[in-house]
């Protein structure tokens, strides 16, 4: 194992060093390794690692890169395969088939990640590079990014850290729009929750959705052709600088006030302008490769920089690479070899191309698109070559600074963490006596976690690329028609109510899946794939790890239980990310936050549904029985504050039946509008349907509260004894369900579908042109809220928190 090394190569002494001394050396070198892990590296190499090697292993074995605490759990519970899956988890993005149009098989590539710690420390750049990183994951599959989504979790804007929280909100939103708008990708959705558990650790999750033709997919691996012919490694993009050095390890530990300044340098610097140029130029490069019949490899540089990307390219093909770090275009001279190898400078890709193509690839980037001129110092250069032996060799200044097997570097380590359940939440949800349902509805509508997100999403481009059909705020999911001229549509939504996770992590995961499926079904799409981003605290804390395991189990069960519409096979989880160590320096973890994204297919995008009521005189149907369990609900949090009582359990069979019925109804063109029931229950859902009607043609609703129960007595028009508690539970229960608006002409056929579906349903009222929202037969007396009365709290409720 003893490679020839020049004497100047510095080495991290591990062998024969005692634990205390080794710990000191690791800290001095800025390494996050445990002592055991450092010894393991020396054992694998059969010698002391060079400083470069130590940094590479440190990065590759970080939680962020290696999934060392989560890999086993994910593999055990999540369904990842299916007939529509082209590529499951493992590469930069998952890929699933969408539709065949004109003989070409179009696929959706999707990736989902977190950029939590960077966004807490430097909100604007942190969030921007979050978008920058996730779109790179999709572009590098050969796909065009057609949309992004951004689920965000912030601290309490009115709490003791409120001022800092509002700064973070502002910075994060600004970072997202400044990057994604300039890049030219539409924002198709997302959500925002506020809770004090996120005061010191916000969550910035990002999803990117791409379109790619199946036979044009580019893999993140060295092609097998490199066994028989010479292949070069080309690095293109921003000149390498020290930014983001240590980023992966920074993401894999708890944030610490005292290290805040260091941490700032671990955040990368975004450049959407250069990214846009790379996107356009790379399209030409990929076309060149296709036209010349050349197999190539293509990978983005993310965590771990050059070292991570190139070793994974090699390991995926059981081949090796030899890279001369002095051939890397750098932004400043004098960078140490480990910085060049591991820095996480943004906006870079690595290509593996046949040597005879290299000069043309360089010409496209450097001359046709003039990268070095328009973006100072950027460009493409050959940095190394593929070697037949599966070794990862880095040279710098004539010395070999790294020589290890690619497999050893990429295989990483694996831990089974200790898991211990929390004490189960019990008891019954009790609402105080004498509440006025009208006042409660206005309070819930104006509460910070329910009110309109318009203030945020109007910062985001949602129509660039010209394919958007349904924008944020118009329905439960964003809808695009990404293949010009084709009928097929894509719906996408993400969800993850952290309050459910706080009560019951299993239900938190399961409900996130159910809700994201409802979101896309409510626009008429049926699910084709899921992704998940699992945000938790420190996995070394047994209760936190248990939360994590339970959430993953819930996601897996829901994906299998709800299933694909046609075959009933599990909805495949094709991509995802785990983010641990999200907690305050004081040690309290964030609420368990599994966030799920669902992608759906609309056979004909013309049949999509939006949530605004369309006309008066239509019937309103409720699908899905209400629950008396209000644990974690918006009404309990608004009225009582404490919502730690059991949550309603999601019934996968019911969810499946409803998804099938609603999409059948949409495809048959029988509904005028549709909205799923989530935060704030039926009452808030109805208010949102009124508020989404056109300003110049407002449509309200007249709804009978007992009919939300659908009891025989109520349906027969017999007055049943009503009670405030019962009525509020019917109005605000967050049990899964849908509201459908249907015109008289279509009602009979809609009823046929509902009857045949086995779904619980009730006709709860009618739409009324021009009037607001009225509830009848409700404790305390019938009441009507005008559009203006509904709009005020809903529009203003969160705005203050967001500026």
């Amino acid at each position: 194992m003893s490679a020839v090394r020049a004497p100047s190569v510095s080495v991290l002494g591990v062998l024969g060093v005692n634990d205390d001394e080794l710990l000191r050396r690791l800290a001095n070198a800025g390494l996050n390794f445990t002592v055991d892990e450092a010894r393991h590296v020396a054992e694998l190499l059969g010698r002391d690692p060079t400083v470069v090697e130590a940094n590479i292993f440190n990065t590759m074995w970080s939680e962020h890169c290696s999934y060392k605490s989560s890999r086993e759990v994910l593999g055990k519970y999540l369904p990842t395969e299916g007939t529509g899956v082209v590529l499951g988890p493992g590469e930069d993005a998952g890929i699933v088939r969408l539709a065949t149009v004109g003989g070409r098989s179009y696929c959706i590539a999707i990736a989902h990640e977190s950029h939590n710690h960077p966004s807490q420390v430097v909100p604007n750049e942190g969030a921007a590079t979050g978008i920058g990183g996730i779109v790179r994951d999709v572009y590098c599959m050969g796909a065009d990014v057609v949309g992004v989504l951004d689920p965000l979790r912030f601290g309490d804007p009115m709490g003791e850290n409120g001022e800092r929280t509002r700064e973070i909100v502002h910075g994060v939103v600004e970072g997202i729009w400044q990057y994604a708008n300039a890049l030219g990708v539409p924002n198709l959705g997302g959500d925002v929750y506020f809770d004090s558990s996120f005061d010191e650790n916000c969550l910035v999750n990002v999803v990117a959705l791409g379109l790619v033709v199946e036979d044009e997919i580019v893999r993140s691996r060295i092609p097998v052709e490199a066994r028989d012919s010479d292949y070069d490694l080309i690095l293109v993009g921003k000149p390498t600088d020290p930014s983001g050095f240590g980023g992966a390890t920074f993401a894999s530990r708890v944030l610490d006030e005292e290290r805040a300044l260091d941490d700032k340098y671990a955040v990368q610097v975004p450049d959407p302008f250069l990214k846009r140029m790379l996107v356009v130029a790379t399209r030409e490069v990929l076309k060149l490769a296709r036209d010349s019949g050349a197999a190539i490899g293509f990978k983005d540089l993310g965590a771990g920089g050059i070292a991570c990307a190139t070793s994974e390219l090699g390991d995926a093909a059981s081949l090796g690479v030899r890279i001369d770090l002095s051939r890397v275009i750098v932004a400043e001279s004098g960078l140490a070899a480990e910085v060049i190898a591991c820095s996480e400078t943004q906006e870079r890709y690595c290509l593996v191309v046949p040597r005879e193509l290299s000069s043309e690839v360089l010409r496209i980037y450097n001359e046709v698109f003039e990268l070095p001129e328009i973006c100072h110092g950027s460009g493409a250069s050959v940095i190394g070559e593929v070697i037949q032996e599966a070794r990862f060799v880095l040279e710098y200044g004539g010395a070999t600074v790294c020589d290890a097997s690619t497999e050893q570097i990429t295989t990483g380590v694996c831990y089974m963490r200790e898991s211990r359940p929390r004490e189960a939440v019990s008891g019954e949800s009790v609402l105080p006596e004498g509440l006025d349902p009208r006042a409660v509805l206005l309070d819930v509508l104006g509460s910070v976690n329910v009110a309109s997100r318009e203030h945020v999403y109007r910062h985001y481009e949602c129509e660039v690329q010209g394919c958007t059909v349904v924008r944020p705020g118009e329905a439960d999911a964003g809808v695009i028609a990404p293949i010009p001229g084709a009928a097929v549509g894509v719906a996408v939504a993400c969800d993850g109510n952290p309050f459910y996770g706080a009560v019951d992590s299993y239900q938190g995961g399961a409900i996130a899946v159910a809700e994201s499926v409802r979101n896309i079904a409510a626009v008429g799409a049926h699910p084709i794939a899921l992704t998940d981003c699992l945000n938790f605290g420190n996995p070394e804390v047994p209760e936190v790890f248990h939360d994590f395991v339970e959430a993953v189990r819930g996601i897996g069960d829901a994906a299998r239980g709800i299933g694909l519409k046609d075959s009933g096979a599990p909805i495949p989880v094709v991509s995802g990310n785990v983010s641990f160590y999200n907690q305050s320096s004081g040690g309290s973890a964030i609420l368990p936050s599994p966030i799920v994204c669902c992608v759906g297919r609309l056979v004909d995008v013309s049949c999509h549904l939006t949530m605004g009521f369309k006309s008066g005189g239509h019937s309103i149907y409720l699908l899905g029985k209400r629950s008396t369990r209000l644990g974690a609900s918006a009404v309990l949090r608004t009225v009582v504050g404490d919502a730690m009582t059991p949550v309603q359990e999601v019934d996968f069979e019911d969810e499946r039946r409803m998804m099938v019925a609603v999409t059948d109804i949409a495809e048959s063109g029988l509904a005028a509008s549709c909205h799923d029931i989530s935060d704030g229950g039926v009452a808030v859902a109805l208010a949102e349907m009124v508020l989404a009607s056109p300003e110049d043609a407002r449509v309200g609703a007249l709804v009978s509260v007992p009919r939300l129960d659908g009891t025989a007595a109520a349906l027969a028009g017999v007055t049943v004894p009503s009670g405030c508690d019962r009525d509020l539970k019917l109005m605000f229960s967050e049990a899964g369900g849908y509201l459908l608006e249907v015109g008289p002409r279509d009602e009979e056929r809609l009823l046929e579908i509902l009857e045949g579906s086995g779904v619980w349903y009730s006709r709860i009222g009618t739409t009324v042109a021009g009037v607001g929202l009225s509830f009848t037969e409700v404790a305390g007396g019938d009441f009507t809220l005008s559009v203006e009365e509904l709009a005020r709290p809903w529009t203003d409720g969160a705005t203050e928190a967001m500026r």
């Binding site: 600004e174 959407p272 660039v464």
Partner: protein, 283 residues
């Protein structure tokens, strides 16, 4: 028989990001369209009948939005082509380039007479995206010649710097008098000078689009390529286009018909046919 189809070049500067959908919108009105690289070959620009500077963030909006691109040689070429009457449309960032180059309003050609300043909006800053209602103020420009003065249409806007301003006294009045104000933000029924959010950026007197004195060079902030087909219109949009969109629900055929932005590109085609080839578009 040779068919004479107008041929449009959509200029791709570094950082533009609306070139593909702009090309599709042009093609959907029966014209030919190429995406033309900013760095040439410039001598081939003369082959085109009209030009579009699409939206995006040219050169990262360094200095000011559009300022760097306005100094590029390709803009000098467009200047020359515009002199012979060919249409040049700048959309959003493209509008910023046309103002920065002095092509619009072009009272003194080449002199920067107007700017597009940062949005002024109550209680918020930065980028703002919203569908706006627009009143047609001039029906002789290359983007409005199939419409009538006083018509109200709806097209989305999305920008952080879209407020038409000038420090030349009397210029705004003169532009209105000359018919160089092409569109203004309006209320649903065409009411003039509405407040935010109907005027999404605080633009002076609600100005949304301005042309040169001949109407062949137009700087417009709204994005017609995002409204080229009915399917791109929001169902909840108030006004006739929203109603048309809701009526089309479920019908793929109707949804693919032209939307409000389609009229902008149709105007471009008509403008070229009438002004350059004589009416009827004969070769």
């Amino acid at each position: 028989m040779t068919e004479s189809r107008a041929k449009i070049a959509v200029i791709r500067f570094p950082g533009v990001n609306c070139e593909d959908e702009t090309r599709r919108a042009v093609e959907s009105q029966g014209m030919e369209c190429d995406i033309f690289m900013w760095n040439g070959p410039h001598e081939r620009l003369a082959e085109y009948d009209g030009y579009i500077l699409p939206g995006g963030f040219t050169y990262q909006d360094r200095v000011r939005a559009g300022a760097i691109a306005a100094k590029d040689r390709v803009v000098d070429c467009l200047f020359d082509e515009a002199q012979v009457g060919k249409p040049v449309i700048g959309i959003c960032n493209g509008a910023q380039i046309l103002l920065e180059s002095g092509m619009v309003p072009g009272i003194t050609p080449g002199k920067v007479e107007m700017g597009l300043a940062r949005n002024i909006m109550p209680d918020r800053d930065g980028y703002y995206t919203r569908w706006t209602h627009l009143r047609i103020e001039s029906d002789s420009s290359c983007v409005t010649c199939v419409m009538s003065k006083g018509d109200v249409t709806s097209i989305p806007t999305a920008h952080a710097e879209g407020r038409f301003v000038t420090n030349t006294g009397g210029l705004i009045d003169r532009l209105f008098e000359n018919g160089q104000v092409v569109m203004t933000y309006a209320g649903l029924k065409g009411e003039a000078e509405p407040a935010f959010p109907l005027n999404p950026n605080g633009s002076t007197r609600g100005i949304a689009a301005v042309s040169n004195p001949y109407g062949n060079v137009v700087a417009m902030m709204p994005h017609p390529e995002r409204a080229a087909r009915l399917v791109q219109v929001p169902e909840s949009l108030p006004g006739r286009w929203g109603a048309a969109r809701r009526d089309a629900a479920g019908s793929r055929l109707v949804l693919t018909e032209p939307g409000p932005g389609g009229e902008i590109f149709k105007s471009l085609g008509t403008f070229i046919a009438e002004r350059l080839h004589g009416s009827g578009g004969e070769a």
